[in-house]
Every structure is written in C-alpha cells, then in structure tokens.
C-alpha cells in the first residue's frame, strides 16, 4: 500500500515499538531497582504510543488489519524505524545515550505533531508529549551524570558517543513520505527540528563535560526498510508467538 500518511504512521509507530522492545529486554536486568523501573516505565509508554499509532494505521489500511497484525506479521524490510533505535542495549551508558538522542528528537518532533492537520495524530501527540517530556528529562539527567561522573562512567559514555553518533543524522534526512506529510501540514515545520536538537545536545553535553563530535560518515536506510543486522534478531523474538501460533490471544 503506497500512501505517505500510512508510511509515516508506520515509521512513527516502528520507532516507538522497536525502542520500547529494546528497553523491555532490560526489565529485571537494570543496574539498580529504580532505573530498572524507569526503563520499564519508558518501555510501557512507548509500546502504548505504538498501539495508538498502529490503530490509526490499521483503520487506514482496512482489510482486517489490526495493531497486532501490523506489529507482528511484517518482515524487517517493511519496518521503517530509524537505525538508532534498533541498536543493541550495550552497557547502561549506551542505553542512556541512545535514549537521549531519540528523546531529544522525539520531543521536538512531537511538539510539531501537536499542530498536525491530521486530528488523530494531533490527539496522539497531545497524550504522548507529556510522557516524552519525562523520558527526555530522565535520559538527559543520566547523560550529565555519566559524563560528569567518574573516569569509568565518562569513558563508557564517550565510547557510546563513538558508537551512536553515526546514527544521528538519519533522523533529519527526511524521506519522501515525511516530506509529503510536511507539505500537507501533517508534520509541520519539519526543517526546524535539527537546530533544536543540536541545541539540546550541545547544552546537555556541555553540562556533562562531553564534546559534540564532528560529523563524519553517517548511516541511514532504516526509514526506507534497509536495516542493520540487529533488527532481524529482535523481530525473531518479538514476533515468535504470533508467527508460531497465528492469531493467538491472551
């Protein structure tokens, strides 16, 4: 189904779903109880946001599609999430930094979706922005704490920056479906997001005594369905039940 609104909804939902799933892998494995609960709470918010988005996509798609069929019966090449969110959890510093890069983008993107010409998207954004605000606060605080922490925590987050920085540009490399949504006011002022993201990262990194890297070679492809090797493994686990027992319900 070629439709820029549908593609955009799938992209938004996949970002939240894949990151939510990644965080859920840490449930009961967090470094301390409070942070285990924080990551689990964020995962729950993200999967909840995914459900809202996929419900709208399913209605648009018709033919008996449901939020579950969209999440559980597509293969990796149909997923449109950015590569950043499918990267493995790594250590706590990497998990935190991945979250911060995403939250800083998401916060400023959803501020725009609040004004979307599409009423369903605007309503979802109104609900989600409150939650995303908590997420950004949490991840930004941890970037500062790890950067301006011990020698060990500083070296860990610097290693995470080296790993993840090449995945940041993809957020601002807008696809045809995002640009088409922009033109129709579904995703307004798309080109203003990068400057706000840059400012956010610059300020938090300064407080964390971290250096914003120079831009080098950057990965992209996720939004078009070209993924890193990690997504297939993630989907194999996430989709197992519905693949083995189609239509199974709790």
């Amino acid at each position: 189904m070629a439709n820029h609104l549908h593609d955009f909804l799938i992209h938004l939902g996949d970002n939240a779903l894949i990151l939510g799933h990644r965080l859920s892998e840490l449930t009961s494995h967090g470094p301390v109880l409070e942070q285990d609960m924080a990551m689990t709470n964020i995962a729950l918010d993200l999967v909840g946001q995914t459900r809202n988005i996929f419900q709208v996509a399913a209605k648009l798609q018709g033919n008996g599609a449901t939020e579950d069929s969209i999440a559980y019966t597509r293969d990796a090449t149909s997923y449109k999430n950015i590569l950043l969110v499918e990267q493995k959890n790594g250590d706590f510093a990497k998990t935190v930094l991945r979250q911060f890069f995403y939250d800083a983008f998401n916060y400023h993107a959803y501020q725009r979706l609040l004004k979307s010409s599409n009423k369903d998207i605007a309503a979802i954004a109104e609900k989600a922005i409150k939650e995303i605000t908590y997420h950004l606060k949490w991840s930004a605080e941890w970037v500062i704490r790890l950067g301006d922490g011990t020698e060990e925590s500083n070296s860990r987050i610097n290693a995470a920056i080296d790993d993840l920085w090449p995945y940041t540009e993809e957020m601002f490399k807008f696809t045809d479906y995002e640009l088409a949504c922009h033109d129709e006011g579904i995703f307004p002022d798309i080109h203003g997001i990068k400057a706000e993201w840059d400012e956010e990262v610059k300020n938090i990194f300064a407080e964390a005594t971290l250096t914003v890297p120079e831009d080098g070679w950057m990965h992209d492809g996720g939004k078009r369905g070209v993924h890193s090797e990690h997504l297939g493994f993630l989907l194999a686990e996430m989709q197992f039940l519905q693949r083995a027992y189609p239509g199974q319900q709790w």
Binding site: M37, D45, N52, E126, K137, W138
Partner: protein, 162 residues
C-alpha cells in the same frame, strides 16, 4: 425504570481503578461523558497514560458493573484528546489516596520541561512532613513517582502531577 445520566454515574462510582483500588474511575477523572441513546449507553473514557495496562480491565469493569445493574447495552469509546491530567482527580479522590498511603498530586499540572526541576515539598502521607525528596520520577505504576521522607525515613509513592 428510566435510566438517567446521574443513575449511570452512580453505578460507575462502583468501578474501581485496578491499580489503585481505593479510587473509583469517577474519582480518577477517566470517565469523560455518558451518552444515552436508544441503542444503549455510551461511556466515553480517556486513558491516564497511553501504556496503562489498567485500561482494558477498566473497560471490562464498566461493562460488567453496568450489566449487574441491569444496563445491558453498553458501548465504550476511548478518546485521547483532551489528554488526561491529574487536575481532573476529584477532591475526594485525593483524600482517599492520602488515606491509602499515596501522596496525592500537589498543585496544578504544568510543564516540567526544566532540567532537574523536581516537585518539592511533597507531603509525606505517613507523618505529614514536607522534608521529603524524590528517589525516581518513575514508580511502581506509570502514574506514580518514588519519594522518601527525610523525617520518618519511610519511602512512599507520590501520584505525580501530569
């Protein structure tokens, strides 16, 4: 028997929030409207948090409680906008929370965008001290933060402003 809106609201008072059973869904502000039509009763609800797992149980609770009271045809519609806020929590709901050992939200919901801004001066539900501090903004459910009291040294849940 003629069913009125007030009658339906009275019945809905009996439906509890599964995660904080001391609150009814009316106290919580989850019920946005009740529409009476010939085809039946439509209950319009809004989720507290998007991923709140209690919402499915709340829907089941609404249907079964209304049916127990002879209201057979019930349709539940979920709306996202306007987004739920703790400002909709009833005064009696806040009292019930305090009695249950959960500090109710203090003040009006506002943007907490500012970095490190915490809600301070939260009143400990055990000893009423305001000498408390936040442990984590994420608690045992999406709607709660974890705090501790520096006077009685007990941890407690705070139903955070949202």
């Amino acid at each position: 028997m003629v069913i009125t809106k007030e009658h339906i609201y009275d019945i809905l008072e009996k439906v509890q929030d599964p995660e904080v059973p001391v609150l009814s869904i009316i106290d919580l502000g989850v019920v946005r409207d009740v529409v009476l039509a010939e085809e039946g009763v439509e209950i319009i609800i809004t989720p507290t948090y998007t991923g709140c797992p209690a919402m499915d149980m709340i829907e089941v609770g609404i249907k079964s409680t209304l049916q127990d009271h002879g209201v057979e045809k019930v349709k539940i519609t979920t709306v996202l906008s306007p987004a739920w806020t703790t400002d909709w929590l009833s005064e009696s709901g806040k009292e019930k929370l305090r009695g249950y050992g959960i500090a109710p939200p203090q003040g009006a919901a506002k943007s907490k965008r500012a970095l490190f801004s915490e809600e301070s001066g939260i009143i400990c539900p055990q000893c009423n001290s305001t000498n408390t501090e936040m442990i984590s903004q994420f608690g045992s459910t999406a709607c709660k933060a974890q705090y501790k009291c520096l006077d009685c040294e007990e941890p407690f849940d705070y139903f955070k402003c949202h």
